[in-house]
Amino acid sequence: MNPELLKLRLLPMPRWILGLSLVAPLLVGLIVLAVQPSTDDAYRGGPTTMATFAVMIGALVFGAWMFGVEFGQGTMRRTITAEPRRGLVLTWKLLTTAAAAAVFAAVAMGFSALVAITICAAHGVNANTESILDLSLAVTLQAPLIALIAAAFTLVFRSFAGGLVATFAMIFVVDGVLRLLLGKYGDYTFGTSLVSIMTIFDETDQSAPFGLAQTLLIALGWIAAIASPGAYRFIRGDFK
């Protein structure tokens, strides 16, 4: 088995992230059933909204962890001693990050959809499965991008915490500043590309600023720009 995939199986963090992303919508579903709110949207949207939030945070943590765990424990040295082709190691890690984040999002969103459909049926509410599916697809596409941007920052800072903080700062601070300063040329921020994905899949809303291809290009451009200095240092530099 590919060692990166084996790490996902044998190290506890991915299991914790997936577990919490499954428990969170289930808990919301049980609370909704217990409280029995009067609005139908609470039954349809409660578990999936919770899962969306959990997947976003989970993807961010997972992306930073993929590199951060290795830098933090000094195991990157061991990884590149076993496989000295550093470019190959980096490629595998980034591919694994993206693929695993997508699978993790699909599983969590699928499970939350099941919970939503079940509680809707129990309460006699129309589940609107088409809307749930659209949301799940959008989140499954967003999750790898979030994981990759967190991985890119972690590659630059060579630290799990550094990667997390930088990603949060990017999404919540830097994007806003860029919008203010350069908004007149168009909103090409990473955060806007994420919102755009959600809007594209929500067929009731026609206000998506970009098409899907353009949105993905913007997001991947940001990831490449941030990852490049870290990747260069990874391939050419020394390891502690």
């Binding site: 060692p3 190290l11 000094g74 050419r236 020394d238």
Partner: protein, 338 residues
Amino acid sequence: MQPLVSFDTVSKRYDSRAVIDQLSFSVPEGSVTALLGPNGAGKTTAMRLLLGIARGDGGSISLLGAAPGGGGFHDAVRRTGALVEEPALYANASAESNMRIQAASLGMSDHDPRIGALLGQVGLSARASDRVKKYSLGMRQRLGLALALVNVPQLVILDEPTNGLDPAGVVEIRELIRSLPAQGTTVLVSSHLLAEVQKTADRAVIIDGGRLVSEGPIADLMADAQQDTGYLVRVPREQHPAAVGALQTAGYTVAVEPDGALLVSGEIDRGARVAYALSTAGVLPDELRPRAADLETAFLNITGGNVAAAGAAAEDSIGVGGSDAIGGATDGATGTTP
């Protein structure tokens, strides 16, 4: 025979400081070669350069016939096991999981039966399922050694492999290392425990300030040191002044060892000369014997008696350099002989 490792005028600088400076040495196949030197001599950096973890600034390195970054280096590194600095372990995973990940990284099956066998060999079978973060330093060291050996490497590079081990553990790991050449694995090992290296290695490469100081069979290094070791004399403490006076009069240098014995040095071709000098003062020694040369003595001689630097090297071993010299002739004059 082609050496498995060769350094040829290799240099490595960090900022403006040369950590490795024109270093050249080799490791012959089938040997257990010790890389020795005071703290900061460049031992770990040399190992990191060899494995491609760090990049050199000059000279050439060959690992199993391949140069770092060149063709075949990938294969060469995969045929090399390594434990450099502290073991690099996934702390939240078990020893068995760490071994499985290492096996997969090396292209082996992660269920290879060697994983269990090696964990048994390093004494971790009973704790193989425990998370590594619960391990003691010694247990982590044992696991690091097992990781380095999982693919039956042609060469294994071990940096302080007995760090943190209890005395029984040191003996076990020593036996394991000594058995490796018979299994086709050449060993390059660094250690501060010179007495331990003496029992484990058959060759030594001594470096200081990133430069080669000496290289050769340990037996040869010790033979050189044997010439400058002197004699140990035990006399009743109340006779110390008379004994020291007589020995100094005979032209010897006398130092008091931490245990109260007198270390007599100078040009002494046989112990009877020391006994004769003592007898002139009416002192009869309780004990008189040549002090055997060991690797530590050789190391101190070769590194120019750099006691400060070697102090760390000697801290876990016997106390060479801790003598309190009390004077005496140093011009090589010898006492009269009977």
